[in-house]
Symmetry: C4
Subunit: 235 residues, 4 copies
């Protein structure tokens, strides 16, 4: 592991930890304060997640690209934007970072560090939702590579803000976050038993979007190394 | 149909599908969770639609311009920003994409793929609202062409966010979306019988704004090919 | 009146009309749907106003500067950013545009075109609020001139979004809007009897901020001609 | 004190005053209007604070950097981005500006100029929350220095918007604001007795983030003088 890779590993780890802390923590706070109105709790959850994504992508993007999501890393590798040998490092950072994020959120709200979620999330409509959510996420990411602009952070934050509401699953769209959300029995949780199908749908959606964009935008591979934000692999 | 046109057709199709899925899906979710408080449901609907527009315009703008709206395409053709022979392709992509978006939203929420809306939306105040909503949308789009900046995505997203609340019709402002919304008997629906008057008001508003801007900004035609975002017709 | 001035007049007129329509219209819609929860109504009003400001400043800024506010025009003239002889034209456009915006909002919601507001808004705390609100608005506008960036539209939209909540008067901060809001007896209205004191407080706040910034930023006059967005006086 | 420093002092003073006025004032307004639904009050508080941050950083950033926070100034000095001899001036401006902001908010809402808060905020979960909140804030600020873009204002605004919801303490993350919030016995208040532990946690979090970033981004010191926005120390 080169020095550079260790820094990018750290960026993905801390970035995903904060992203999951934002998702899980704002879910706990929203449910606690909303007096039973789930729409208000989800609105708080949405605003917090979208705003956190903008901040985290702008902050960690110049270091590691701010993938913060194994599907993004995998899609990047499919387009040769990241070396395959680095993919396991990125994914490990995202999964372990995500788990730390859940633990942090639980502790900040005086809950046990880990509590396995009992929340059922399954069935074809939910799986379709995850497929569509992740398809859309990768379409947005690939589309924005043509802008060569920081605006991609706002596009991703905006997309997830919307997708929380327009998909029945509230758009996990991220296997690392899906795993992390099994460890908090709160608003944002998901039963471990339901996670594998979510992850499969997310992978399928992300890969489908990548193949679609390979046709749609022939210049894609040249831009893939700059996903989500341009960053230097070596410094 | 050239290869380039087929790609732009696909971008308009997928972009409009996601836009309609965001409008219809977030309406379903908002109504389901808001415990009868329509303002909260509409707030969720608003946030999702505005945020989706930012993401979709940034993602598809560099490919097709991200019109996602027959009025925008028509206004662009009036200013010679898009060839008239391409207009039917754009409009067809937008209408069929929009219908697919409704079907997707219905399926993601375990509803029948299509259910004809029974929601009455009519009368002079509603038609005036659609005229004003679309007039303002085109004024914003034409005005922002002078910026030569990605900021237009935020202007359009911001405008629609506002117009959901300041027009009595909640600002459809888009014939493709109007047609698509007839096919979901949910929060965002509109009775097919009421759609033609909405579409007529939208066309009138968009054309009026375009003539107004032709006087207001003599440099308009030079910028019209870059609506909503600069894109290359051939690649 | 030169051709150029007539165009800028039109931009200020239409821009202020849409801004007032957004303020008044979203107030009507918010009150109608929120089931008596004033915070939700004001949240809708806030989001609509802030988002409309972003869109309108980006759209009309390149033409007239998008002052949309007599205090901004006056402050610009104090710094020689706009010729004094043009000030009456700008202010007239803003006031008449604002009144048209109220009429439009009333008509879109099937209300009488004009209904004089009965809403009492007065007392020292309200006047202090208007002074502070307008002081802050001009501080934000003058501060952002140093950025030479479209970001000023987001700064102004963000500032007013915040000021709706942190001032007791919900931050009118604009004499043209204050006048226009006397003509709708709805959520956003103000009794004509209370308008003069609001307007005096707004003028005092805006002028104080301008004198403060003249000391704070010696380069200010050079930038004043580019308020709120750079635009060409002649084309 | 050079002329330049007096201007930067004034910018930090006024900027922090408005930031605190936004935090405290929107808390008062939110609580007053939300009919007992704390989530809605906090949503209003969140939106106002995040939007104010965007506006204030864009407006005051080019003058003083818009630290508006003693932790940011201290972290900047640790990286030699600001001279140590200027730190006391910055911190004094932030603390006195913050107190004025509370007084202003109280007066705008017809409350006594100062009322000592009785609100208990303490315990390990709250302290952990403040550590994490400030760690994240500094990570976001340091990360964004690499962008050399106004986007940092949106990153900071977005981060605090999220952190209000994902930390149990609603993310004060700022010793000057913590002190100021002891002087209003309203929604945003904190008992003076609880302030020192909050401030200690904030300092620890900010310093930890700075050491972390020193390793993560070896080019950090070169960028530190441009925190939060590039500004000239002498003019």
């Amino acid at each position: 592991m080169t020095s550079s890779l260790s820094r990018r590993f750290a960026a993905e780890f801390v970035g995903t930890a904060f992203l999951v802390a934002a998702v899980v923590g704002s879910g706990i706070m929203g449910e606690k304060l909303s007096g039973g109105n789930v729409a208000i709790a989800l609105l708080a959850n949405t605003v917090a997640t979208g705003a956190a994504l903008v901040a985290l992508i702008l902050a960690f993007g110049p270091i590691s690209g701010a993938h913060l999501n194994p599907v993004v890393t995998l899609a990047g590798a499919l387009e040769r934007g990241i070396a395959w040998r680095e993919v396991p490092h990125y994914v490990l950072a995202q999964i372990t970072g995500g788990i730390c994020g859940t633990v942090l959120a639980n502790l900040m709200f005086s809950l046990p560090a880990v509590s396995v979620s009992q929340r059922v999330r399954g069935g074809p409509a939910q799986w379709l939702s995850e497929f569509i959510a992740t398809f859309g996420l990768l379409v947005v990411i690939w589309g924005c590579t043509r802008l060569r602009s920081n605006a991609v952070a706002f596009a991703v934050g905006g997309y997830i803000t919307a997708a929380y509401w327009f998909t029945a699953s509230t758009s996990f769209a991220n296997p690392a976050i899906t795993i992390a959300r099994t460890l908090s029995d709160t608003f944002a949780g998901i039963r471990p038993h339901d996670a594998p199908a979510f992850i499969a749908a997310e992978l399928a959606g992300g890969i489908a979007a990548t193949f679609f964009f390979r046709w749609l935008s022939p210049r894609l591979p040249a831009a893939a190394k700059d996903v989500i934000l341009p960053h230097r692999a070596r410094e």
